[in-house]
């Protein structure tokens, strides 16, 4: 059975609308990427050096990064040799299989949130303008839908209007927001919020933080402190540290992931703004090199536009046309 058919089976068993949503969000990505792959396959009937070179370029344009692309293409070369593949029919499945494989290299990681029996604390971190606050709003809506009681902590006390932004999301979703005034100590906000969350016995507390560029030592130290304060109040907390990454970001995302991981032990990534034309290919490298899994993807500005990340579906989204074609056989 082909890879695509296996995928299809796997996916049809799951929620169709989610898959649709994923597909919709990835349409733009897919249109450009898949049509290019198809174009490539159509133009090259033979799998030769020229084919690999074009493939290389295709992946580079998806922000996958030089190192990962080289690795992938080398593996493909070997695979093609091993399986004695001469023409490009069916090469698509080999490509997507490899992409998933590269993504999954290393230990199997849980893509689900690490939920506790009592209070679960989630800390949201990232550079400026990647969509942390929006993601928190969407995540709160999602968890509430699942029947959890949720509370938000307005830890971005620096950026103008950031607290108000979270408060609006709180009203929209219908959850309480713990806040202090602009300019107050974010660690103090967290302390307050944890106290409040314990008192009200909520299931999940999601903590917002101010965006910061990872090369600002002082600001990263501040974030470390916030992380520490949370850990002091509840052992083992924060149970999840989610790094919001903008899908439009290029190779710097790898440095972001690395630095934030060092400071706050990031447990997962939320890949935002995937509804544009950007591919966010750098997550392959991040997963591969730093062992941080993508847990969610942001596919729009609506409340329900946050979806769990599934590498197979991600690749399926990239190669959906190929899938539908093969399904006809």
């Amino acid at each position: 059975m082909s890879f695509f058919k296996k995928l299809k089976e796997k996916i049809t068993g799951t929620n169709e609308t989610v898959t649709e949503k994923f597909k919709d969000g990835l349409t733009k990505t897919r249109d450009s990427f898949t049509s290019k792959v198809n174009d490539l396959v159509a133009r090259f009937r033979e799998v030769d050096e020229d084919f690999f070179e074009e493939l290389e370029e295709l992946l580079l344009q998806a922000d996958v990064g030089v190192e990962t692309v080289m690795e992938l293409v080398d593996q493909l070369r070997w695979e093609v040799k091993r399986k004695n593949i001469k023409n490009t029919d069916g090469i698509q499945s080999v490509i997507s299989e490899k992409l998933v494989e590269i993504y999954k290299a290393g230990e199997e990681l849980d893509a689900n949130l690490n939920m506790q029996d009592d209070l679960t604390v989630i800390l949201m971190v990232g550079v400026n303008g990647v969509g942390k606050t929006t993601t928190i709003g969407k995540l709160a809506a999602r968890l509430k839908e699942e029947g959890k009681t949720v509370m938000l902590a307005a830890g971005d006390t620096f950026r103008a209007g950031a607290i108000d932004q979270l408060v609006v999301w709180g009203e929209r979703v219908g959850v309480e927001v713990i806040r202090q005034s602009e300019g107050s100590d974010p660690a103090a906000v967290m302390y307050d919020a944890i106290r409040a969350a314990k008192n009200r016995k909520v299931d999940v507390l999601i903590c917002d933080t101010a965006g910061r560029l990872q090369n600002k030592v002082n600001l990263m130290n501040e974030l470390e402190k916030v992380h520490r304060v949370i850990g002091k109040e509840i052992e083992g907390a924060p149970h999840e540290v989610l790094l919001a990454l903008d899908a439009t970001t290029g190779q710097n995302a790898l440095i972001q992931a690395q630095t934030f991981k060092e400071a706050t032990n990031v447990t997962g990534i939320v890949l935002t703004k995937l509804d544009g034309t950007a591919k966010g290919g750098i997550v392959l490298a991040i997963r591969n090199k730093l062992n941080i899994p993508v847990k969610f993807v942001g596919l729009g500005e609506g409340m329900d536009d946050l979806q769990p990340f599934d590498p197979e579906k991600y690749v399926y989204g990239l190669f959906a046309e190929g899938l539908e074609e093969e399904a006809w056989e």
Partner: protein
């Protein structure tokens, strides 16, 4: 720091051919391969990279390099020239309208930094051009976007025009222009909502705002960290609106900023400003030639000099020089100097602007520990005036007192005193050096600021 990796990679490549008297076509080819990857890793768009590499190799394979006695230098020059070319020749100021008000429209993707840049731009216009700007809050979609602009307006004591979130952006802009006429504002800056370039409905809204307000400048605000997609974004916004310039934000991060090259070569529109921090005065003009130098690891000397001139008190500097000469340099002067350096901005940023700095082994990724500077300050401030001028008198008892007073340890006090001694020695060396010529220079006293 922008482009750092690019510089390193190019330097590695050039190092390889440095020893050769002459380089072959194969050498050039290998080098260009490295240049290509370096540029891609710096997030320059692949197509732009290809064009660039083609031009550079043509010139490199051509006569200029082959015949040159210093092929390495020649290649550096070609690459630098081309980079400067690609990023747009000369600097471009803001285009003001003949008849007031000048209308500036800020557009871009979500999270690029439009609202922050709006505030920074208003600051520049008021400070350097003596204008009286009106800020228009036309982002009715993102929660609290209006509050954000209003807060910035309050910080800057600048008026912000807003009509809440229930009025259409086009109507907001229409009324804002009326208001500007009434209140005699000579510049109107419209802060639009972030949107995806593929969102047809919202892109049409931008077009409508443009048709109504006939802006003199349409600035595309782009995150410097943007990857390959930068070309698509820039192209879409440019095709629809005919952008007049680009503002590159978050360049104070450590991204290599290849997007600058991509956008410029795709749209042919100038990069007018770069965002260098979260403070309202952190907007600087874009200097392609400096950026190119920085890319090649030649150091951004011009920016450094400018920064120094802006922040260093000239009289104090002269005084200090005199003290250096006569060797009457005290701990007080040391403290003074520290503060001057601090005023210039984050130390690691300054150090990276210094030519050749990234060649010093082990310092490529030096992180300056600024809190260490604070401790040094505390130690000096806990000394008496006598101790500061003649540190020789500091005995064990005094050390104990100083450590206690500054909340540090005796070891730290010792370290500082030792550093100060070394620094004095270095100063002596340096003054001697000026006559004797080159001698290996070390930077004692500064070691402790690196981790």
């Amino acid at each position: 720091m922008a482009f750092e990796g690019l510089a390193q990679r190019l330097q590695g490549t050039l190092q390889k051919i440095k020893g050769k008297g002459k380089i072959s076509e194969a050498d050039v080819k290998e080098m260009m391969r490295e240049v290509r990857f370096a540029l891609i890793e710096a997030d320059v768009n692949l197509k732009v990279v290809k064009e660039f590499v083609k031009t550079v190799s043509e010139r490199a394979v051509g006569q200029d390099v082959m015949k040159s006695l210093t092929p390495g230098q020649q290649v550096v020059k070609i690459v630098k020239d081309e980079l400067t070319n690609l990023m747009g020749g000369e600097q471009n100021p803001i285009q003001f309208a003949r008849k007031s008000p000048t209308v500036i429209m800020m557009v871009g993707l979500q999270g690029a930094g439009k609202t922050t840049t709006t505030g920074k731009l208003a600051t520049v216009l008021r400070k350097r051009h003596n204008k009286k700007p009106l800020l228009v809050a036309a982002d009715i979609y993102r929660p609290a976007a209006i509050q954000q602009l209003e807060t910035i307006g309050k910080q800057l004591t600048l008026p912000v025009f807003s009509l809440g979130t229930d009025v259409s952006p086009v109507e907001i802009v229409r009324q804002a222009l009326e208001e500007a006429g009434k209140e005699h504002h000579d510049v109107v800056i419209i802060d639009t909502a972030g949107r995806l370039h593929v969102d047809e409905k919202l892109m049409q809204e931008l077009k409508d705002i443009q048709t109504l307000s006939k802006p003199d400048e349409v600035f595309l605000v782009v995150d410097a960290m943007t990857g390959q997609d930068a070309v698509n974004v820039a192209k879409s916004f440019d095709e629809l609106l005919g952008i007049t310039g680009v503002v590159l934000t978050k360049l104070d991060g450590d991204t290599r900023g290849g997007a600058a090259l991509s956008i410029r070569s795709v749209t042919q529109k100038p990069i007018k400003f770069v965002g260098m921090g979260e403070k309202m005065d952190a907007l600087e003009p874009f200097h392609p030639e400096r950026m190119a130098s920085r890319i090649l690891g030649m150091g951004d000397v011009m920016s450094l000099i400018e920064k120094a001139q802006e922040n260093v008190d000239e009289e104090k500097a002269k005084e200090l020089e005199q003290k250096f000469r006569t060797q009457t340099f005290t701990l007080d002067d040391f403290l003074d100097q520290l503060q001057q350096v601090k005023k210039m901005g984050p130390l690691d940023e300054i150090l990276k602007m210094m030519p050749g700095f990234n060649k010093i082994k082990g310092l490529e990724n030096a992180q300056v520990d600024e809190s260490q500077m604070g401790r040094v300050e505390a130690v000096i401030r806990s000394m008496t005036i006598a101790e500061r001028t003649t540190p020789e008198i500091i005995n064990a008892n005094r050390k104990k007192r100083i450590a206690k007073g500054s909340g540090t340890s005796i070891q730290e006090v010792n370290r500082l005193l030792k550093q100060f001694e070394e620094m004095k020695k270095m100063v002596k060396q340096m003054t001697n050096m000026q006559q004797k010529g080159k001698k290996k220079m070390k930077m004692p006293g500064f070691d402790s600021f690196f981790r």
